[in-house]
């Protein structure tokens, strides 16, 4: 593709399974074929990713989906205006608990099918038993206050009759330390992206209780956070990068490539952990603890079901949870900032030449599809869903206020 001008792009990423699309774009030469000289820099905290984008070391970054929204709302310091022109897949997280807590949850009826409702009920029972002999609440870790992990854990707890602020304590820990913290008894459970639940389950130190896909199927997780000033200055580079990432997502989603992808991700410059760990998350055949394996539909979806489309309804759901957990006070202006952070317009215009399925709508009612359903699209036909919340609730972005009111404490 010598006709292309070569664009240099430096992306910061965290060592997680869902860095897969960025890694494949580089390692499979997909970015190069679009004229992008893509450099990937591994980081050790989301704070560092944010800081290095703020000073221009990175033009684009692997980010927790709520982070760019929080940045634009002024909730994090040193953040620059960030846009989300593409998502980096759906799902991929699990809730893992210590063997001790799991044993008590089994007493309370927990099953190994990872059903979110049964696991929540069992956890509630275990908390009630514990309250009789200990005033110390159970401690759960998540990776960041503005993360899908924090919100889905809280959603699951709250819908299971457990108050996330009163009945348990939620702390922040870096993913690679979580399994050790479980062993050390510092925490009783955590919600994290792969391979950090597999790490505990295969080492025999923890048990997966439920997964993101069971709490809210086909739900958003990581996105590409792009410095707005760079996006405005280099629209061609951005469009080429989006095409590369879409193609890379397609490659990652093909089961025939999972083995190769697992080997790539296991490399020392990426996640630097065994390739076998990656395969669990990529195939959805999770090692859940003991010697049990459980197959989860749609555990991590990199491409199918418009998994890279930046739905404004996803942005607004995250915003609703920021309001719910008192990270921000709702106002129409704040909601607008959240909505405008996601840029499906840039996604469509960049990907049009690829002939991939482009959703006609910018937002959808989340949780409305009980079965795979064909929806309006351009380029190719598109099937979405199932996408339900485990408690059967719906999120209609046009009824944001009513949703926020329904969750008010």
């Amino acid at each position: 593709m010598s006709a292309h001008r070569e664009h240099e792009v430096v992306a910061g990423f965290m060592p997680l399974l869902d860095s897969a699309i960025l890694v494949a774009a580089r390692e499979k030469g997909i970015a190069a074929a679009e004229g992008i000289d893509l450099t990937l820099v591994r980081e050790s905290s989301w704070a560092s990713i944010r800081d290095r984008m703020a000073v221009g070391h990175f033009q684009v970054t692997h980010q927790l989906a709520p982070m760019p929204i929080a940045a634009n709302l002024g909730l994090t310091s040193l953040a620059v205006k960030t846009i989300v022109p593409i998502a980096l897949g759906l799902g991929g997280n699990a809730v893992t608990v210590s063997n001790d807590l799991w044993a008590r949850m089994v007493d309370g009826g927990a099953q190994t099918d990872l059903d979110a409702r049964a696991a929540g009920r069992a956890l509630r029972a275990a908390i009630a038993v514990r309250a009789k002999c200990s005033s110390e609440p159970l401690k759960f870790a998540v990776v960041h206050p503005f993360s899908g992990h924090n919100y889905e854990l809280r959603y699951w707890l709250a819908a299971s009759g457990i108050d996330p602020d009163l009945d348990v304590e939620i702390v922040i820990l870096p993913p690679p330390l979580m399994a050790d913290a479980l062993v050390g008894g510092t925490i009783d459970g955590y919600c994290v992206g792969e391979p950090w639940s597999t790490a505990a389950a295969t080492a025999g130190v923890g048990h997966i209780a439920t997964v993101k896909a069971a709490i809210w199927r086909s739900s958003p997780e990581k996105v590409l956070g792009v410095a707005a000033t760079w996006a405005e200055r280099e629209p061609d580079a951005l469009a080429a990068l989006l095409r590369a990432l879409c193609r890379a997502a397609q490659w990652c989603g093909d089961a025939a490539n999972h083995r190769e992808l697992a080997d790539l991700l296991a490399g020392p410059e990426y996640i630097a952990r065994p390739a076998e760990w990656m395969l669990h998350g990529l195939t959805g055949a999770l090692a859940i603890g003991g010697s049990a394996t459980q197959r989860i539909e749609d555990f991590f979806v990199p491409f199918a079901k418009a998994a890279t489309f930046p739905w404004k309804s996803h942005a607004l759901w995250f915003y609703s949870q920021m309001v719910r957990w008192q990270q921000i006070v709702h106002s129409p202006d704040n909601a607008a900032i959240a909505r405008e952070t996601y840029r499906p317009d840039l996604y469509r215009s960049a990907l049009k030449p690829l002939g991939v399925a482009l959703p006609s709508a910018n937002a959808k009612v989340e949780g409305a599809l009980a079965a795979p359903t064909p929806v309006g699209s351009a380029g190719a036909s598109l099937v979405l869903g199932p996408d339900g919340f485990f408690d059967g609730m719906l999120f209609d972005p046009d009824k944001l206020e009513a949703y926020i009111a329904s969750q008010a404490r």
């Binding site: 703020a54 310091s77 206050p145 870096p174 330390l177």
Partner: protein
């Protein structure tokens, strides 16, 4: 040092004890006496509550920064730390800090001119430490080269019956003729000897 009513309380968090010492020395020399250094973040919430630091200096790459920042956010204290120069009026300083690998948190409301010398000192000490580490790395690789050359010389002595001095002279001549380092020649000679070694059981 300008006159100050109360000396600044500074907390240094660094898993690298050597670098922590380098930063501590620098700040102490500059007249900051109220310094605390911690190497790991176990029980950090209690330490911060006890010390009530005005400035926290931490390695940018410390994986616990997300935890620390969330702790600051949740802090109910009036004096809660926020990321350095939150007004972004000093972009050059922020860039210098991030380039050097330093991150700093400063309690809200503290005057910038009181904090800037601390951050500037941390930046220069981080840079000095990085330079030192690089030099150490070079020294280490020099040692490695010496070992490689010794081994290559041993191989030449055994396979070609050369004296120690002649073996070294041959290595040096080859390197000069090819305009390469002696250690590179030694390395390829060792590799070649390994590849061409006769099977063990003949």
């Amino acid at each position: 040092m300008p006159e100050r009513p109360i000396p600044l309380s500074i907390l240094i968090i660094d898993e690298n004890r050597l670098r922590a010492a380098v930063i501590e020395d620098g700040l102490r020399d500059a007249g900051y006496a109220n310094l605390t250094v911690v190497y790991d973040v176990v029980g950090i919430a209690r330490r911060i509550a006890d010390i009530a630091p005005d400035v926290i200096v931490i390695d940018l790459e410390n994986p616990n920064r997300d935890m620390l920042e969330s702790m600051f956010q949740l802090s109910r204290a009036v004096r809660r730390p926020i990321a350095m120069f939150v007004d972004r009026s000093d972009q050059a300083s922020i860039e210098a800090a991030v380039d050097a690998g330093v991150s700093a948190y400063v309690v809200d409301g503290l005057k910038r001119e009181r904090v800037k010398p601390v951050v500037d000192m941390a930046i220069s000490r981080f840079n000095a430490f990085a330079r030192m580490a690089r030099e150490l790395e070079e020294a280490r690789s020099q040692l490695e080269s010496r070992k490689l050359i010794d081994r290559a010389r041993g191989i030449l002595m055994a396979t070609r019956g050369l004296s120690e001095a002649d073996a070294y002279a041959l290595l040096r001549k080859t390197a000069m003729n090819q305009n390469r380092k002696i250690s590179e020649i030694a390395e390829s000679l060792i590799m070649a000897a390994g590849l061409l070694a006769p099977p063990e059981d003949t």
